[in-house]
Symmetry: C2
Subunit: 396 residues, 2 copies
């Protein structure tokens, strides 16, 4: 972020997201040692509040690293060696979980099975049910709830029901990295066996921590399989330490302290209110995009991030640089994967965490102004109309 300018900077990328000042200040306090009663109390409270956020009675493990670290740990720790493991594609992150299962094909004798979904579409619960009925030995199904790369959310509640019905012995592992804390998701009630999220999205913290919520069946699987192929990524090791309110390896103590402050802020606003705010920002953004005549990149848009295709005349780099340098608005471009190459073709705007209606309207106003300048012929509205459409959604 260009902090030498006097233009206020707004970070609206779908992770990392902006961190509230009280959280930044908490993390700037002197370091404490992790093998102390003081840290253990903070760690325990963070775990309890995370469980409340994920709506699980199970333990929530805090793993140093990125969201990918935590997700890979869940994949290798919960898969039953020799079994079929399913991962749903449809975006960069779904494809990553497919790649990770492939990686362990040899070492864990896994039989990885891919369910492919076109980018921008959500997996149908029927497809999952059908695939699971065709394969008897599925031990684990990995599904992304909100696919950040395509700004798409699936109906994870219906997916969970489909998994339970078609393969009662399979565990469901959900990537909630851009859904937990942004969109309704109830781990236990919906039957999600393991739920992974990250610190740097709706949880309003810098990157550096991944979280894994474990339901009863996941805990049973960890006992049944006994040991995973890796050391650091073996959830059993983290679970054992978690019971003593600690972690097996030196944890990012400042991030964990910051997380406590951020979780308290979420509880103060109220989780339902956070969800409503996030959904309203998403609706407002989609209304603005539609008014501008932009095509959404998703057929089943997520509420945590919105994405739209650029008009043909608009160059991604020119657009996002101008947005950043002239307006202080930081958004993301597209990503590439096996299913699509969206780099240069779309842009994305986050609604997660510490972002207000004012931030979103400022961004939409800048986007509207800039698009009218760069592609006057193809933008469907007059100046102000996209922002007006967004405002109309916000006052509903």
């Amino acid at each position: 972020m260009n902090t030498s300018t006097t233009v206020q900077q707004r970070l609206l990328t779908p992770g990392p997201t902006a961190v509230p000042q009280p959280v930044l200040e908490e993390m700037a306090r002197p370091i404490i040692h992790h093998r102390t009663a003081e840290f253990e109390a903070i760690f325990a409270e963070v775990g309890q509040r995370l469980a409340k956020l994920m709506q699980t009675r199970g333990p929530v493990l805090s793993i140093a690293g990125s969201g990918t670290t935590a997700f890979e740990a869940a994949q290798v720790s919960l898969a039953r060696p020799g079994s079929t493991v399913v991962a749903v594609g449809g975006g960069k992150f779904g494809e990553r979980w497919q790649d990770i299962f492939d990686q362990y094909e040899g070492t864990m004798t896994l039989k990885p099975l891919r369910i492919e979904v076109p980018w921008g579409e959500a997996v149908s619960p029927d497809t999952i049910e059908q695939v699971l009925r065709e394969h008897e030995d599925v031990s684990l199904v990995a599904v992304v709830h909100s696919e950040t790369s395509t700004a798409t959310a699936c109906d994870i509640r219906a997916v969970a029901a489909a998994v339970q019905s078609a393969a009662p012995g399979a565990l469901l592992l959900v990537d909630g990295i851009t859904s937990v804390g942004a969109m309704p998701i109830e781990q236990d009630a919906w039957g999600i066996d393991a739920l992974v999220t990250g610190s740097q999205k709706a949880l309003m913290l810098p990157p550096g921590l991944g979280y894994v919520g474990l339901g009863e069946r996941a805990l049973m699987r960890l006992e049944e399989v006994k040991a995973g192929p890796c050391y650091n990524l073996d959830l059993r090791r983290w679970l054992k330490a978690h019971a003593k309110n600690t972690v097996p390896f030196t944890p990012p103590v400042s991030l964990i302290r910051g997380q406590l402050v951020a979780l308290k802020m979420i509880e103060q606003e109220g989780l339902e209110n956070v969800h409503k705010r996030t959904a309203a920002l998403a609706r407002a953004t989609r209304a603005a995009f539609t008014t501008l005549g932009l095509a959404l990149c998703s057929h089943r848009p997520s509420d945590s991030v919105s994405g739209a295709y650029y008009p043909d005349e608009v160059d991604d780099k020119t657009f996002r640089s101008a947005l950043r340098d002239e307006y202080g608005i930081h958004i993301a471009g597209g990503q590439d994967g096996r299913g699509a190459s969206w780099s240069g073709r779309i842009f994305r705007l986050s609604h997660m965490g510490y972002v207000s209606a004012e931030d979103t309207l400022a961004a939409l106003s800048a986007i509207e102004t800039l698009l009218l300048k760069l592609a006057p012929g193809t933008i469907a509205c007059k100046a102000g109309e996209a922002v007006a459409a967004a405002e109309a959604e916000l006052v509903r």
Copy 2:
């Protein structure tokens, strides 16, 4: 750290260590996105300065997680499948690297070989040479330079020479987690193929980042073996991203920014001066311990951390609680492992990073006062004599 008290708190545990105020302030600045020219420039500069610190021309990878994350990544990425891999014990961390090789015995068909050393002693280069001459297919040797659990350093330069002489085809992987930035270590000149360190020790940052410096032969091995068993922990993935000044997964951006400030502080003091300061604090501490009549827990003491056995009358918990609550001094106790159970038997004091003569003298004075109170019969000196011995070392 008890921040509700008016007693100044001093964190002298051997990791996490105290973080300087300018670093804490840098990390409290607004979050920036990692896929930006601004972050890439910071990341590149951190990499260059780390390479200077480690004294290598090779790339230094920044890996999110603990020091263990980075070390496991180096172990699994550099070992040649089917080969013999050697890890030297002698402390909790050496034993951990042994455990990690064991973990991959099946999946990588490794033949793990342990060199055992009594806790508190350093491995002899001759022992390493002998073991390597007895085994022809050794691909990787993992050795701890400064073993934090026993406050012991080995002669890593002589170890490197022994490895080169006895097994020219084997790579040497060094745990420099509590040596880099605290004690002289020259990766390239000494022939260390891969050197791992962590952010939360002499590098004056909170925990959350591990670093891996890769020499030429390590880079060749990564090309030769092609792929490791894990995804996140495969150094090839990090190396590929590193060439583009980035990382494969969302990095802890605030920590990396803080690291740049901390590295500049080290350069400003001058690396040699940092080494001299650290060594002087260690000498002063050992002189105080000896004056008190305490036995050092190491026969070959490290300069980054000092440890001593308690007198029989002194209870670890009582001692360290009083030190913390009455004097604001935070030190570490002992650890347990396969080779020894030092929990409750020893205490340890760090000299790494952001710690001054004043901090150390304050700690030694409190230790002396408290020991004279708790074990008046066994302490060998009168009040003030231990501090005087320390001061004498500091003015040398």
